[in-house]
Symmetry: C2
Subunit: 198 residues, 2 copies
């Protein structure tokens, strides 16, 4: 006997989620079939509500309930300095550091020749447009410190410096090969204080 | 900055799924926010459809699109022998073995005093009722070979034997401490052929 078709289909779809293998997808599917109806509704509701209410800020491409997002529309922040991160999760990690009062820009990924992710696949054009149309004087590159993030930082430094904007890279304290999202606040704080011009 | 509330809520709900920690829940949530709308709809549809169409067979408590399920309503099968498993996943693993032509019964778990799972929390009463009301002559206990499954098998043997039904346990070939669901077909086949009376 094979699995009933509706279960098979649910497993097939769930196993495509990142970090979910076939066995995990099967476990999750059978768990969902056993859950009380109210819990399943809450799960689906939370997904639908998040999808409906969250949008990308048209200035920084952070996920936000409003456009522009609260950070971009905050006039008390320093609007001449911008911190470039790969993902909204990275932005939240950096924003926990009280020392930084500037703006952000979310690239939506990192350059990765092996995965066929080139400059057109992340928001490099939009970043350049933003830099040229505003009074930004410094760009802090806070991409991950793995090879993709480093490649992205080098690439960005190369194309931003000719515009006449200071380009810095988070430096002090960040462990090499790591993921910014998982770094602790103190490490990120030191990295911001110890940033170096590229 | 904290995560926006709708994202926070989605993460909170997803991290309660089995085998999903906080970091995995965050990764899944941000992935779902980035997915094309059509893919999200397919994910939700597959869950809702599986929930709507799958029901428990009232005879064996297997998950099925019909009640009774195709196995219980198959008159070509041997209706005097019943194989007791813990979960619908275990049933599918055993049913891949062509040698076995009998029926099944899904307990819905295993006895586990440490987790406060007692005889009333799995379908032992329903199994006994089924055994007493039908012409079953042999019960094959195919619970897992870990301590919970062994405890359940010993408990079931003790209460079924007095009814005058032969009780056997999958024996040959099953690795001790393992999970039936992950066993290969040949191992399960040998275990059925080498089953021993308890």
């Amino acid at each position: 006997m094979n699995r009933p078709q509706p279960v098979e289909k649910m497993i097939d779809i769930i196993k495509k989620l990142p970090g979910v293998g076939p066995k995990m997808a099967e476990r999750l599917s059978y768990h969902i079939l056993k859950m009380p109806q109210g819990e399943v509704e809450r799960l689906i509701d939370s997904i639908q509500k998040a999808r409906q209410t969250m949008k990308y800020c048209s200035a920084c491409f952070n996920l936000s309930e409003s456009d522009p997002c609260p950070i971009c529309s905050d006039t008390a922040r320093e609007h001449n300095i911008i911190c470039v991160v790969e993902t909204p999760q990275d932005l939240i990690a950096v924003s926990k550091v009280k020392d930084y009062k500037g703006l952000y820009f979310v690239l939506g990924g990192a350059l990765s020749p092996l995965d066929a992710v080139g400059p057109d696949d992340i928001r490099i054009d939009k970043l350049l447009k933003r830099l040229k149309s505003s009074k930004i004087t410094e760009v802090i590159l806070a991409t991950d410190t793995d090879s993709k993030g480093e490649t992205t930082a080098l690439y960005l430094a190369e194309i931003i410096k000719p515009i006449g904007i200071t380009v810095t890279r988070l430096g002090y304290g960040l462990p090499v090969g790591g993921d910014i999202e998982y770094a602790d606040e103190l490490t990120i704080s030191r990295a911001i204080l110890g940033r170096k011009e590229m």
